[in-house]
């Protein structure tokens, strides 16, 4: 059994500290954000007089109070607080600072504001019409799309509508800014990207980066929602703190968080596909349109990943994908687990379902027919990257057998013919998810490892902990390298004064990048300790520094070999154990051993002390960059990823013909995660991601009013899966795969990929509905999410039309 999460034991007692759990200082103030309720309007007048009438309300700040009011990760296009014009409902306009939370919240209602409404753009459709785009469309193309489409024996065209998805991290955006001496600031933020938070705060206030430290202890969930969007709230708290010279806490309510912050981008994709009688795809022309909301945020990168995942697991010889990022008057949509991948994958999986339905074939056969293989050119993606370590065939083969797919499909189709109460559906879909940031410079990280005098270890990296267990994995890698148990190390809070210029903990890469850096730093120390241990073999114990320290009677041990300079965490490491050794010295179970001098083994902590007394550094820092990322964004060509995490899922659903309600009967997942550091933590990621994705494709419905103001902004109205919504049977297995030589210790990233497996639930719902007699010659129109209403509408569209 794997070790639990490194802070599970304090999570269950409530001792784990989150931002808002920090003790409130006596002089601390509380901030809240007054925001727009109009989609697109000029601000004619704002009057704070009445809000300021409450003696508990201390101050109100606006965008004019910042040194620089614009921020943005890719383009600096977004005001921290809107000044003369609002571009979405939920856009911040003022920061209200008060002695209590309640006073700040109630003061918001007393702000008087007058708008002059402008015409809003609230849908992708409208954006296309008015050509409201963030940047010009991008394109990735291979082969002769047009001509092969024309020549294809069969073809289909269609559209898929994919709505947004709220992160619903349990801990809403939270930050506290503490003003320090000499104009410095310390920010505690629930952020996936402390470096960006530091930089945004410093820039907004006109401070040098050196005067702002950002600390992230942990987050109550992030899922991408705190990658870019934690920063502006930190800047607001920081502004108030600097102005008031008092600590300021800004913790959003769930309602305000949901109204103000961006979601998973909605997409509306159009496709034309040519295929043969067997179902082999010959040519695909697909146009992706995403809703970015009012500002760019990360939407252009998200679109890129959608374009790079439009193939999912399938070789499509002629493929053109264009991506157009639309600007609308909604909250700025942002990173969310999968980062565009899910929207791409859902599109191709729907296409496959439609092809199979058209050919009256089992969709699994069409999928298998189109999979990437190792033969010829059928192993190369549309952007020219070779799919190495391809496990797709094996995954299909093993899961199809273990979940009894064939038999169940047969039974389902038979039963559906006469069951008037329920319809069942089944679907097996794959995922092939590219691991790495597609933006090359983000694929870097650094780590600081400190061995203390007593042999206990502290680790600091740029990774942030949001429940995924990145710190537990890093600690396990470091301690195993040193022959220690995990409890002898502690991963410290992420701070920008220890690890600077880091990347967000995102793209599933937290362990890959930071774990590799931590391992490299550890090995630097290990190499020095190894050389010392070797030298100590020749020195009688009574002459060791620990016996003679302070006397000056013995010469100091001097190390002769240069420090380790290595970027590959697998170099010099033995593949099975993942551990490197130097000078034949082994680190095991708290001991340091030379295999030829077993009798002279030294206890690790004793060796550490000896190193200190001989003035050998016990701390080290390492930098790691992922090699081989050569993706030319202009051409849309090259190696975008270090490797692919792959998996398959089979979901069976039951639809209530009375109401359209969906019940997930059974889910079987088989994932390829290479060789996990901590298998149970990985399994937790798989089940969590799948259920989160399940919410996206079924019950999670973002409902806006005609001003683009989100009305489903709390769990009473926005329904994430509850414990009753989990599949009745839920099997998760990992594929044995010892051959991912590309990544640290043969592991594979797990954070995002399994979310995409929830597409199988959506295709299973489609599969059930398409079996209705009415769909013999057509395919149901169903969007994501397949809410009960959408499902019932697809089952009996004319009954709905009666009332519309």
């Amino acid at each position: 059994m794997s070790l639990p999460h490194d802070f599970a034991h304090t999570h269950v007692t409530g001792e784990s500290e989150f931002v808002d759990d920090r003790p409130i200082m006596r002089n601390e103030l509380f901030a809240d954000v007054f925001y727009s309720t109009r989609a697109h309007a000029l601000i004619k007048r704002v009057d704070f007089t009445e809000a300021l009438n409450d003696p508990k309300v201390i101050a109100i700040f606006t965008g004019h109070d910042f040194a620089h009011n614009l921020w943005g990760t890719i383009f600096k296009d977004q005001p921290i607080l809107a000044t003369d014009k609002v571009n979405y409902a939920g856009e911040g306009i003022a920061i209200i600072v008060a002695e209590t939370r309640e006073a700040a919240q109630r003061a918001k209602q007393k702000v008087i504001i007058e708008y002059a409404d402008l015409a809003p753009v609230l849908t992708i459709e409208e954006a296309k019409k008015s050509e409201s785009f963030i940047i010009p469309a991008r394109k990735i193309e291979r082969g002769s799309v047009e001509s092969v489409l024309k020549e294809s024996p069969l073809s289909l065209k269609g559209k898929i509508i994919i709505q947004g998805h709220d992160h619903f991290y349990l801990e809403s955006q939270a930050s506290i800014a503490y003003p320090l001496e000499d104009g410095q600031l310390e920010i505690h933020s629930s952020s996936q990207h402390p470096t960006e938070t530091q930089h945004v705060v410093a820039h907004a206030l006109g401070l040098p980066d050196k005067d702002v430290v950002c600390q992230v202890k942990r987050m109550g969930g992030g899922f991408g929602g705190k990658e870019s969007q934690a920063a502006p709230f930190a800047a607001m708290a920081a502004l108030a703190a600097i102005k008031m010279k008092r600590p300021v806490r800004l913790c959003l309510t769930k309602d305000d968080d949901m109204i103000m912050t961006g979601k998973r981008n909605p997409f509306e994709n159009e496709y034309k596909v040519g295929f043969d009688q067997e179902g082999k795809i010959l040519s695909l022309d697909v146009k992706l349109f995403s809703d970015a909301g009012a500002y760019a945020d990360l939407s252009t990168s998200i679109m890129e990943r959608a374009m790079l995942h439009i193939d999912n697991a399938y070789f499509i010889p002629n493929l053109r994908v264009t991506g157009q990022v639309c600007r609308t008057n909604h909250h700025s949509h942002t990173a969310f687990r999968g980062f565009g991948g899910p929207q791409g994958v859902a599109t191709i999986e729907k296409i496959i379902e439609e092809i199979a339905h058209f050919l009256k074939k089992d969709p699994i056969e069409v999928r298998k027919l189109n999979l990437y293989t190792d033969e010829g050119e059928r192993n190369t993606t549309h952007y020219g990257q070779v799919v190495k370590n391809n496990c797709l065939g094996r995954l299909f083969h093993e899961l199809e057998k273990s979940c009894d797919y064939k038999k169940r499909r047969h039974e389902i189709e038979k039963e559906n013919k006469h069951n008037k109460d329920f319809l069942r559906g089944i679907s097996l879909t794959p995922v092939k998810f590219g691991i790495s940031f597609t933006t090359r410079f983000l694929n870097q990280g650094n780590a600081l490892v400190i061995v203390h005098n007593d042999g206990s270890v502290q680790i600091a990296t740029g990774a942030t902990e949001m429940g995924q267990g990145v710190n537990a994995r890093i600690a396990e890698m470091v301690t195993s390298e040193l022959g220690l148990t995990r409890k002898e190390a502690r991963v410290m809070p992420t701070r920008t004064d220890k690890n600077a210029n880091t990347s967000p903990t995102a793209a599933s890469s937290g362990t890959d990048i930071n774990g590799a850096a931590a391992l490299l730093a550890t090995r630097k120390i290990k190499k020095r300790l190894s050389e010392l241990a070797l030298k100590l073999l020749d020195i009688p114990k009574e002459k060791w520094a620990s016996k003679t320290a302070g006397l000056g009677t013995q010469a100091e041990v001097e190390l002769k070999t240069p420090d380790l300079l290595e970027n590959d965490p697998n170099a010099g490491a033995e593949w099975q154990s993942g551990k490197a050794s130097y000078f034949e010295i082994q680190f095991e179970d708290g001991w340091v051993i030379h295999p030829k001098h077993l009798e002279k083994k030294i206890e690790f902590k004793y060796l550490v002390l000896e190193a200190y007394l001989n003035r050998i550094s016990l701390s080290d820092y390492a930098f790691y960059k992922i090699p081989g990322i050569e993706f030319n964004k202009i051409k849309g060509e090259g190696d975008a990823f270090l490797y692919y995490t792959q998996g398959v899922a089979c979901t069976e659903v039951k639809l209530d013909q009375l109401t359209g309600e969906v019940k997930i009967l059974r889910t079987d997942i088989l994932m390829d995660l290479g060789r996990p550091v901590n298998e149970d933590l990985d399994m937790g990621q798989v089940s969590g991601a799948y259920i989160q994705g399940l919410g996206w494709v079924t019950t999670e419905n973002l409902y806006y009013n005609d001003q683009g103001l989100l009305l489903s902004h709390a769990p009473s109205t926005y329904k994430i899966p509850s414990i009753q919504d989990t599949p009745r049977i839920f099997n998760i297995e990992l594929l044995e795969n010892d051959e991912n030589f590309a990544n640290v210790r043969g592991t594979k990233a797990v954070g995002e990929p399994p979310l995409l497996l929830a597409v199988s639930a959506w295709t299973a719902i489609n599969d059930a509905i398409r079996q209705l007699p009415r769909y013999i010659a057509s395919y149901p129109e169903l969007r994501i999410p397949a809410t009960s209403e959408n499902v019932l509408r697809a089952m009996m569209p004319e009954r709905f039309k009666e009332w519309e």
Binding site: V12, E171, D680, P715, K719, E789
Partner: protein, 479 residues
């Protein structure tokens, strides 16, 4: 007359005045008592992160014997008067040993980010308490799910949490009662419960008399005072800053109002009877009602929320009003000028407006248990099956004339979510009773409502659901 709220927090006696009493319990715990284990996420009782355990040892009800989970985010500290409370911060044994639920959550990886975890631990501990009191030995997966319906987790996908729950060794659990409740506490709280309470400051007014008479006299003089039952509705409205709970009358010290009873075929229940209690009571008497209450709200809400509160708040999508309409319930109200009975079909006047007049209080609701020949069916549709507000709910009661099932003797069709109040389909009922022609009746059915489109359902969907449910009911009842 007391002027302090008195309760026990993790075994320690607390006596608090207006300032603390007017706080929400979760805020009091976190920001006044520095017990930050309890988390606030939604502040509307919909996620369970704020779950704490409460014992209210005063009446012979389900929750008077055991510590049960409640939502601390929508509970005023004032409402804890006379209770004993345990929070996650105290759950670990003094020697550092984790409670069995905590151990299970750690070992089964039931916690990832840790933010929902304390709430899950407390809800699960509540389930353990219930199990121990029934001397049961194991927790099966469905029981785990039912016990944890009121808790949301966004990280784990619940799989590991279900594993944790089912791995709990009940033999290893010492009850919370054994650890945190004492005879001295019981004696003290009994004394507390025996005395009326009045907190009166400029900012906060909270009155809890011992008798109905005092309540009614007070209501007559202070018509602007709100009556607070469990506050599962008022607490939300307060947190969302749409109102401020400053002047309140609480009936929690009046024992009579906790009574639920069956006399012949008549069931009566008092104004303070909780959903949990009511569901338990109905199990063998009106099983369909009890089943319906299963998918109604979370354990935390059901443990405090009252059935009468669900009626009095007069929400058009309240879940019990259609059922009580179908059962022809009678609402008993009292005022200084006496008692009167309002048939429930005359109770809901307009959106959130009832037939209760100034100075009146609901003290009791009664209905006759339908006989064995009656067909009874209650439907609730919500966007998520469990722990969700209805988009539409429907309650139907039917009795055929004779065995051919061609003629109808009695029929009530009642619904919520289709108009500004819970409604009866009087014309449809009439038509069907005149002649059992379902096709014709369906047309009338639709003509009786003009449902709105909102975030829970479109108008069209509500029409389709209504018809589907009614057809389903008659097809079942005709067999």
């Amino acid at each position: 007359m007391r002027n302090k709220i008195i309760f026990y927090l993790n075994g320690i006696r607390k006596e608090v005045g207006a300032k603390e009493s007017s706080m929400m319990l979760a805020e009091y715990l976190r920001y006044d008592q520095c017990l930050t284990g309890t988390k606030i996420v939604c502040a509307e009782g919909d996620c369970g992160a704020c779950s704490v355990l409460r014992l209210f040892p005063h009446n012979q009800s389900v929750d008077s014997h055991n510590y049960v989970p409640i939502n601390s985010c929508i509970t005023l500290v004032a409402q804890l008067d006379g209770s004993s409370l345990v929070t996650v911060d105290a759950l670990k044994e003094k020697d550092g040993t984790l409670h069995e639920t905590q151990r299970a959550m750690v070992e089964c990886h039931g916690s990832q980010c840790g933010f929902c975890t304390p709430g899950f631990v407390m809800a699960l501990t509540g389930l353990v308490e219930e199990k121990l009191s029934k001397k049961e030995k194991t927790i099966d997966p469905q029981e785990a799910k039912n016990g944890l319906t009121g808790n949301l987790c966004r990280c784990t996908g619940y799989r590991s949490i279900i594993d944790a729950a089912t791995s709990i060794d009940l033999d290893k659990c010492r009850t919370i009662k054994e650890r945190f409740y004492s005879e001295r506490q019981e004696v003290d709280l009994t004394k507390v419960y025996a005395e009326s309470l009045l907190i009166e400051t400029e900012d906060f007014f909270y009155y809890a008399p011992k008798t109905m008479k005092e309540s009614l006299a007070f209501l007559k003089d202070y018509p602007d005072c709100r009556i607070i039952g469990s506050g599962t509705d008022l607490g939300v409205v307060h947190n969302k800053r749409r109102t401020q709970l400053t002047r309140l009358l609480s009936l929690h010290l009046i024992s009579k109002l906790y009574e639920v009873d069956r006399n012949g075929d008549e069931v009566t229940f008092g104004a303070r009877v909780s959903h949990t209690e009511f569901r338990h009571f109905l199990k063998d008497k009106v099983p369909e009602f009890s089943r319906y209450l299963d998918v109604f709200a979370s354990p935390q809400i059901k443990n405090t929320g009252t059935v009468v509160g669900n009626i009095a708040t007069a929400s058009p999508i309240g879940d019990t009003p259609p059922v009580l309409l179908a059962l022809n319930a009678t609402i008993v109200v009292e005022s200084m000028s006496g008692k009167r009975e309002i048939p429930i079909d005359q109770f809901f006047l307009a959106y959130r407006k009832t037939a209760i007049q100034h100075g009146e209080l609901i003290t009791q609701v009664k209905f006759k248990v339908p006989d064995a020949k009656s067909h009874l069916r209650f439907f609730k549709y919500a966007n998520r099956k469990d722990l969700d507000i209805s988009a539409i709910n429907l309650a139907m009661r039917l009795k055929w004339k004779g065995d051919e099932k061609k003629e109808i003797d009695e029929l009530i069709i009642a619904a919520g979510g289709l108009a500004s109040t819970p409604i009866r389909f009087l014309k449809t009922e009439e038509a069907l009773k005149k002649s059992f022609d379902l096709e014709a009746a369906v047309k009338i059915l639709h003509s009786e409502v003009k449902p709105i489109s909102d975030l829970r359902a479109s108008s069209a969907y509500r029409h389709v659901l209504l018809e589907n449910y009614v057809r389903k009911f008659f097809s079942e009842a005709s067999v």
